[in-house]
Symmetry: D3
Subunit: 243 residues, 6 copies
């Protein structure tokens, strides 16, 4: 649509973080990855769920939603349907698990961080953008409350896939747009973590799916390589916005 040069197979889309977008949240961040825009916030409550009381440790939970007009054809409002879709539930569980790796729950104390990720515009990779943006919101929230010591790892996520059709990029490519995601034979979401003080990039989640066909061991390796490189670049941008 916009007259862009074709991205290289290992290139991320243009990335932007806008912070402080939600005035009441302890931390918030609108992340824009190309035409995928996700509003992330972190709210902090001075209590934990009933089943955790008295343990002295905190909790982090996440919710994900998509505004009805975020998609190409307007999608149903889940609140009106009275039910979250399976896809939504799966994504918010992934976001929660991923960000719990960023936090030392004991250092958080008996507090609950609730992360909300709402997609304003969807063009592929919304769950990965949500994780990357939510980490910024969480870090901002804990900093604002003097709890930055509870942030023990930096966490970011990216998609990769094998595209064998279409008029755009082909082969093993990073950070798929909707059109590429739709065409991809193999699709992978990768969440990475790095110790807060710096150090080796590790894996938090690795979810590869053969949507169109099964995939080989060597394809899996290529996807992980590309994904880790993408996460390293995303983390650099995260650090810049927090600096």
């Amino acid at each position: 649509m916009e007259g862009v040069l074709m991205r290289g197979n290992g290139d991320l889309r243009g990335l932007e973080f806008e912070t402080g977008v939600q005035l009441h949240a302890a931390g918030s961040c609108l992340v824009k990855l190309g035409r995928t825009h996700v509003l992330c916030s972190a709210s902090l409550e001075e209590k934990v769920p009933g089943w955790m009381k008295g343990r002295g440790t905190g909790w982090l939970t996440a919710e994900y939603g998509m505004l009805p007009a975020a998609t190409n054809t307007r999608s149903d409002r889940e609140a009106a349907r009275g039910k979250q879709q399976g896809r939504t539930v799966e994504i918010q569980r992934l976001i929660g698990r991923s960000l719990r790796q960023a936090i030392d729950l004991a250092a958080l104390g008996e507090r609950t961080l609730t992360v909300d990720c709402d997609v304003l515009n969807a063009d592929g990779g919304t769950r990965c953008a949500a994780i990357t943006g939510a980490w910024v919101a969480v870090a901002l929230a804990l900093k604002a409350r003097g709890l930055e010591a509870a942030v023990v790892r930096q966490v970011a996520a990216v998609s990769a896939g094998v595209v064998e059709a279409g008029e755009g990029r082909r082969g093993v490519v990073l950070d798929l747009e909707y059109e590429e995601d739709h065409l991809a034979a193999v699709d992978c979401n990768l969440v990475a973590a790095r110790p807060a003080g710096g150090g080796e990039l590790l894996l938090v989640e690795l979810q590869g799916t053969g949507e169109g066909r099964p995939f080989s061991r060597s394809e899996a390796d290529a996807l992980v390589d590309l994904g880790l490189a993408g996460c390293a670049a995303l983390m650099e941008a995260q650090r810049a916005v927090l600096a």
Copy 2:
């Protein structure tokens, strides 16, 4: 929080419209009225609900939601609770009724306009800001599809109230912030319409409530006067953004 002078009783908060915010919607508009920010979009489908088929006329429906982190204390996600609150349902019915007065449904033809209003930040007056912003989104959507002739009236909404306590404005005041709304003895939402070609300002909805005490006939008159003046100012800004 921001070092503002105290507003006069008849003053609106600062108003801003940002259009084109949702890339897939036929029309969209982020309206900011002070610290109340509502993302409005209008989606256009080439069909009508089953019960309307074959009449040759269109339909407009509205949905309203609030992001969990939009409020002072994070509120529950309605999609997760599996149920929209009574307040939500009431507001989206009001938005739909109000905007149907803006449109000539026959001129729209067998199409459905779905208006989505999602509150990103709530500081009082979200339903009124939603109506004002949604009218812009609808007008943009119909213009983009060459259907501007279906827009027969301009519609805007504002709140007014009687405040008798607190450290801010007192008396009959326009465009209440959350704190004022909370303190108000009487609360009024007023939706006004003006023929697209210009002309007298008329009432579409008038909802006055004695939250703290009943109110007199003359108080009702003062609230309507202030509300109509507020709507006239909002409509000027709407026209400017569409020009």
Copy 3:
């Protein structure tokens, strides 16, 4: 159906209150306003919702329903559909707000009044008849428990509208039947209150809607005038039944 003379524009339909209809309720009243019949009851519990405990004041809440066979064409049973309609929710919120203006919640003490309004026959104006009848049920309930001092205001409600079509009444008319309501260009529900010891009639709720077209300031004035006169007449009948 009944061979009635046409009502004057400012006339109420025939009004009847039958009390003591629900044997277990603290107070109950079947209100008949023409062919609109609503069974109202007030139940009194010696406790308040959790969020109100320890404040020494009481609460009043309302629920509204319509028997499936109350309407011209049988309507769905909301309990069977598993969901209350938006209209139902909106009405029961209105009834609750209106009747809370009748009660001194501090004088009620830590008790909850639950008002139930169930429409047995619907012929327009059910929400207004519900409020008028529910006030009688509440007053009876509090009297029966020696709490009449908590009734600080008399509350009644009526509809009015602008009818420009049909074979019946035309112009600004009071207390619309279903057929008139259906034809009305403008529709208004007005709830009024009067101090228990007598005094000026004030407004509690004023809800005017331009269903068919926007309406002018002077039309609004005429609707309010007619509505207040109607409420005065309803209140006279309420006092008679309680005497």
Copy 4:
């Protein structure tokens, strides 16, 4: 409460039918059996459920509800809870099965009769009173539409039980009030039918439950005897009201 003489073990409570209570229903009947009052209506639609189309026969379905204030302590509104209780579902299935034995569905043609039974006051035996009253509503509805030939059997229902405690009736007793029902060791609901043209009384449903203890074959016999006698008396009253 009222200074009544104690009923004999085989006596019904005072019985009254008030017809035409719901103005829009094809047939309606408020049945009062002592302090148990049930509003029954029969609505007739000129179509059948999808799965029955084209068979040339009709259908009868039933719904049951209890107004919240019908019981000693106010009960939850099922529409507000979003779910019908198991007891409700069980009762409306029983009412539907019982009344389908009253109707020749082929003679009804492709029409649906919907029976609504709403309890205004509950003092034991509501399901039986509902069946007895609903038969009157159905007979009135079919008569009003010239379909009386479809009524092939008269149907009525009554409860009986074995009471071994309390200060009232003891032994095998007919038509239990709430207090007796609560104390009963054995509880039985019996639905009977008689050919429209007269003839032997037969059983449609026989539901005996040992609530407090199992029961013997001879107790079962005594309950059935009493129940059939009670149904014969109820049917006489049904015929009188229709005559």
Copy 5:
């Protein structure tokens, strides 16, 4: 399907109990009655529902379900539909009431027994097989926990009916298969109890329904006779498996 001789009118289908099938349950039993297979388990918790606390007695509750592939045509999964069917609710209430007659709730102490009955294969009579198998599971569970003294009665259930069509058994027949149940004019489920120490067979539940036509007093008698004989045989098998 299997080359069986036709059963006699008073014959049960082949019966088998397989115990210990669910490894975590306090007691479990897979009951096979012909081609009807129901997996029954009894779970024991050391607490009672809130409304029973402090009374020193226990509780027994039951749940019933059918695997989607248990029926001839796959049926909907109730968990996916978000709602249990009326039939399910009715059956689980029957199972609970029946088994509570087997237990001395005071001897159970403040414990809750939860009975789960899940149909793996359905060929008629699933609710009766469930009761018969669940009694075995409950007896095993209480024995395993040294609470066998709480089992005060043996409980079993069977169906009987009047079949007047089809190519199989005709007349009053015991233990109906799906095909017979479908054809039956009259259908009866009978639950019987016998004191744990031996003694007369009594009735716990008797549910007779005229599905196709009303039934006579003498038909009712024949169904009860056959049902009691069937329960006696089932109880012999229950004792054998527990021995």
Copy 6:
């Protein structure tokens, strides 16, 4: 519990398939992997969902459930709660995606295969056992209907993980029991496919999660190696049962 020798890190638990367990299903299989038992069935309908009609290809969908007594402490029945858990939804989406890789949907024609996987006993690895067993049920169903040509790949699944605590196996281990799963720092589910005619083992799904800590690239490699070897062994057993 049973006096078994400790398994080697690369050993599967004892595996058994029992086929033909659900009499009405086109194909069914009870898979037992140690103490994890899952009942799998495949039902075949001669139609496709509305959105697929007319394309000439079929569809496969999956549902997953757990009997309440399958777990150590009885879990809630999802049908009774009226909602499937997020975990359930996630698992059934995984099962569906995995098995669609086994089938040539075009060769299936306009038919729908519905796979049901119900856990009778849970001891870790239920989703993997479900996939492995469901493949057998699907293969049996298609064979029974003469559609074996639609089975284009063999599919099986297994778990692996990194265990660093507890008294049992330590390190990178295959096929985790509940206790091991609970202790695992890293957890991986791997679904593999092999062309029906034989050939290289490929990946269909790879889901690795750092539950306790992030994991390294080389740990990921070791988990994949172990998982693929486990799947090869499971496939051998699948082929044996179908032979």
